[in-house]
Amino acid sequence: MSTMAPAPTEHPAGQAAQRRTSGRLSRGGRLWLYALAVLVALSLARVVTGADDLTSAGTLRAAIIAAIPIALAGLGGLWSERAGVVNIGLEGMMILGTLGAGYYTYYQGVWIGLLGAIMFGAIGGALHALATVVFAVDHIVSGVAINIIAAGVAAFLAEVFFADLAGGGATQSPSLAQPPSITVPGIAGWSDDLADRGWFVVSDLAGLVNALTADVSSFTVLALALIAGTGWVLWHTGFGLRLRSCGEAPTSAETLGINVYRYKFVAVTVSGMFAGFGGCYLALVASSGYANGQTGGRGYIGLAAMIFGNWSPGGLLSGSLLFGFTEGARLRSGGESVHALLLVVALGLLVLAGWQIWKGHRTAAVLSAAVGAAALWWYLVTDTIPGDFTEMTPYVTTLLVLALASQRLRMPAADGQRYRRGQAG
């Protein structure tokens, strides 16, 4: 590909000016507005359907615990793809993380366990970097191979590590220590009371406050700090700028004296570290030990969350929370809560359809309306959702969200392309 071709202009000046006058809210303001709208919609659904667990502190806590591993995998994807390497191997690196967490936590405690998981993930990441950066293998091919290797290594080593331990087995570790959790005194108590009242919006908000202040795992706090830290490193430091330049225009970066290979290698290894942390979180916080097949495709969902979040830390966190919420709702009184969610989805899609008609996108509107009507019909003719369908929820959500959102997204310009040094011309 020639680097001399002019980059397509994203927003012509006129369009940008129009955007400035029509959008009165800042980006942050809009996000708060969306969050509030979601909260009101969920609260309304809870009141209308009587699915009281839909926004209870318990559900939201489960949602956060489900969201964090996905967010960590997504964060790994962000590092890798911002440097221009697609990382399908996140799933495998996450598997390695669960194994490392299981082994090291059993013998050395939680914090060494975390380091062990990060190290195992980093090994997976370094392997992917070796294949894609040094040998310029197709990124997807390498990622798929790493997932195969990781699943094999984990299955084999789990048997070696845990089969002879008391309480362990060939496919799972004994139960392991949990990382310490944090409760903010003075808030947890009253928010719990308020959450139980069942008041419109107020109780839902109190449930959210309670989930965020009572019994929060220290790993959750660490993960959120890492997401914020990533935003700072990648967008506010020289290192981050150079790293992102490798994902946008590696040959141009090379002409500016950046060692593209080194940046890509570091980014992909760090990507493995985050995935390893995600695996650790799954093994220690989301469950009580290592088990084969624990990741259940969360590495891929993390990647989807990152795409949904338009390759940005805040976006991938909101994507993860969306997937985490569907999972949390499923885990706590699944049939009832997911059934109530169906109503939210149906009404949301119908509103979207109206908006699309107003914007003149007729085909999209018909599609949204059809899916929305189907969801509404399903909601009306049933009382609960069978277990098999609640299990599908996160995956169906991923598909739907990507189908609706993928056209507004822009990935790093050189993402997934093979790069060889010395091609700049």
């Binding site: 310029a136 293998v137 699943a151 048997e159 989807a304 599908m392 995956y395 189908a403």
Partner: protein
Amino acid sequence: MTALRRGVLALAAPVLAFVVAAVVTSVVLLGTGDSPAEFWQVLLTVPAGRNIVNMVNFAAILYLSGLAAAIGFRMNLFNIGVEGQYRVATFAGALFAGQAFLPGALNTVASVLVAMAAGAAWAGIAGVLRVTRGVSEVISTIMLNAIALSLVAYLLRRVGNRIGQTIETDEIPSNAWVPGFSLVPGETAELYGLALLAVVAGVGFAVVLNRTRFGFELRATGYSESAAIASGVDVKRMVLYSMLLSGAVAGLIGMPELFGASHAYGSTIQTGIGFTGIAVALLGRNTPLGIAVGALIFAYLAQQASPLGITAGISPEIILVTQGVVVLSVVIAYEVVSRYRSRLEQSAVAAALEAERRHEEVAA
């Protein structure tokens, strides 16, 4: 380049990959305190007749799975969803065959077609999402795998019959079964009759790929999408068609065993075949013959590893490590060899040009 050199280079990559895989496996075994010597002894024993039959049966299944993946791979379309397509298709085929709408062999043929259609439809979802909404087929096929798992489990619970611990669809009437045939003389274990589907599909793939416009456009899109578009290939249509074709072939994966042994779809259906198929396709460079070799090797490894736990006290899971390392090192090795080859070609061309220039100087 001489023919000898070309042959050596072609073999170099796979040989290199297997050496790496052997070394890594041995090192892992040493690290966990197991004996590599015992591992290789078990792995390299001459298989008994029964094992050979199992191996070929499994290889046929893996071949179909590898072929399904390869169709997409040839045009850089990553259908990771063979696993889900195979499940949906096998379930649909078994369900249809169990109803016995048609007599005998007609039922068999119709059921295989139903399975192919179901696999194609399931893959088609990802194709449509890619073409109309720009959703990456890698993510969507993986999501569809998980959805297929739950969907089939749900449907099986609705329509299946509980037999002990498992749930199964209605058994296929015996007149629609496909008899096996003897592969090793004097051995009771037989090759599945529908294992021949692998041969048919393989030949079909080779013909379509090398002798039809569709195959040409498929390969052209894989080599350079921009060049393909410039020469008038409708890439969107190609994406959709190859996804459908890939899914249809994935629909065949379950057929040999369904009509040859199990005669019903049960909750004990073999898992992971779709993923192993991806590995086999990568190993075989997505060519009809290469995939066959890859499938035979993987089937050999899987079959030979199964007694490891009993005879050598080593967990048979180690073979998954071997298989995974083979795949990763084979793709790296192909890359290294092709780089080496192009450097050889470059220097050959440079030498030829140099000679020509001298010749002209002398003439002048």
